[in-house]
Symmetry: C2
Subunit: 219 residues, 2 copies
């Protein structure tokens, strides 16, 4: 069924797609990149490393991607798509209690990026220096923020959550908090963060920030 995973979103930059062996090489480059990123930063990986890893020469690399940053961007698109899909699946299974929806949605996103730590770390770094990555990630965050705002406003409307700061500012702060703390946990940056428990702590903060009281945070 030709797996329409939604990665059509990613338009194959620099490649006039179609033929057989070419797609394999493109895939080899992506795999090589994610593998090498486990052990060094993008800066410490040369285009030559990626090319050799995929069994081609450096100029040939440029036939497939315009730069090594574009490779990361392509990987990021795929993982973002995976996160969306996992979140949708989780919400499918969740009940219709607003709190349960947040909890399971956040867990799905966390777990997806957690299974691509190296890429997450790299994307966070490129966010600062690469406009395209910044743009992709801003759209992703905006999606999360928008959902959060809608959730907060509907909870406030039905009297379940008290008033407070503008829903949008609250949502921005909470979502960026998650992003940053997930990353710190993935990179083992602070050894006192328990990778298994971070999410519960963050959920408690969400609960208190939105409801000014504790909801059930456990699984």
């Amino acid at each position: 069924m030709n797996a329409p995973t939604g990665s059509e979103v990613y338009l194959p930059r620099g490649r006039r797609a179609r033929k057989p062996s070419g797609d394999d090489r493109e895939r080899d480059i992506l795999i090589t990149a994610e593998r090498l990123l486990e052990h060094r930063s993008l800066h410490d990986i040369s285009v030559d490393d990626l090319a050799r890893g995929a069994g081609i020469s450096r100029p040939t690399f440029y036939f497939y991607f315009p730069s090594k940053e574009a490779v990361v961007l392509s990987l990021l698109d795929r993982v973002v798509e995976e996160a969306r899909a996992n979140r949708a699946a989780a919400l499918e299974r969740a009940g219709d209690d607003a709190w349960e929806i947040w909890r399971d949605g956040l867990r799905a996103i966390h777990d997806t990026f957690r299974s691509h730590k190296a890429l997450s770390r790299t994307a966070a770094q490129l966010f600062a220096e690469n406009p395209e990555v910044r743009s992709v990630w801003s759209v992703v965050m905006e999606g999360f923020v928008g959902d959060t705002v809608a959730g907060i406003e509907s909870e406030r409307a039905r009297g379940a959550a008290p008033d407070g700061p503008p829903a949008r500012e609250l949502a921005i702060a909470l979502n960026w908090m998650n992003e940053r703390v997930f990353l710190a946990s993935f990179t083992g940056q602070d050894p006192s963060i328990d990778e298994e428990r971070v999410l519960d702590t963050l959920l408690t903060i969400w609960s208190r920030a939105i409801y000014a009281e504790d909801r059930l945070a456990g699984a």
Copy 2:
């Protein structure tokens, strides 16, 4: 009085300090760097740009700093010192209510980095790619986190704050949230963040996360 601002912390990498004209040049390089960073990223500034800006040749630059990253590190050390000093001064003025202490301390830190936006942005980026910057910033964050933990625990001990997640995890999440949201506000990344009001929103989240209720967040 020879201004012992505390920047002794920064050991003059690569420079056998003492004589006259040399200190001027070092200062010129630092000033040039902070000026150029207002308009482009560190990556887009070459060592040659810094050297010319300070009126010297590229090799001479290396007499003063081992790399352009070292220049940023030096600037960062200074701003961190400034933040510490401003925070200490603010706490001097504050009463002894725990909440007031947090509010004024956070405001001092926010204002300091806000007056060095370009450097803050650059440091955040270098955090990901440069071990020395990561180390400096980790120490700074650890200071904030440690203070926050102490505050939370003392509030819990005297019954002013309810139980909840481990104080340290809570403190880490709240402090990283601030770091990330300050940065987003400085870079104008999300136009819906009101640079004047962010701090109040963050303070409300701190209040609810720690006390599970609202304290006075206004000035």
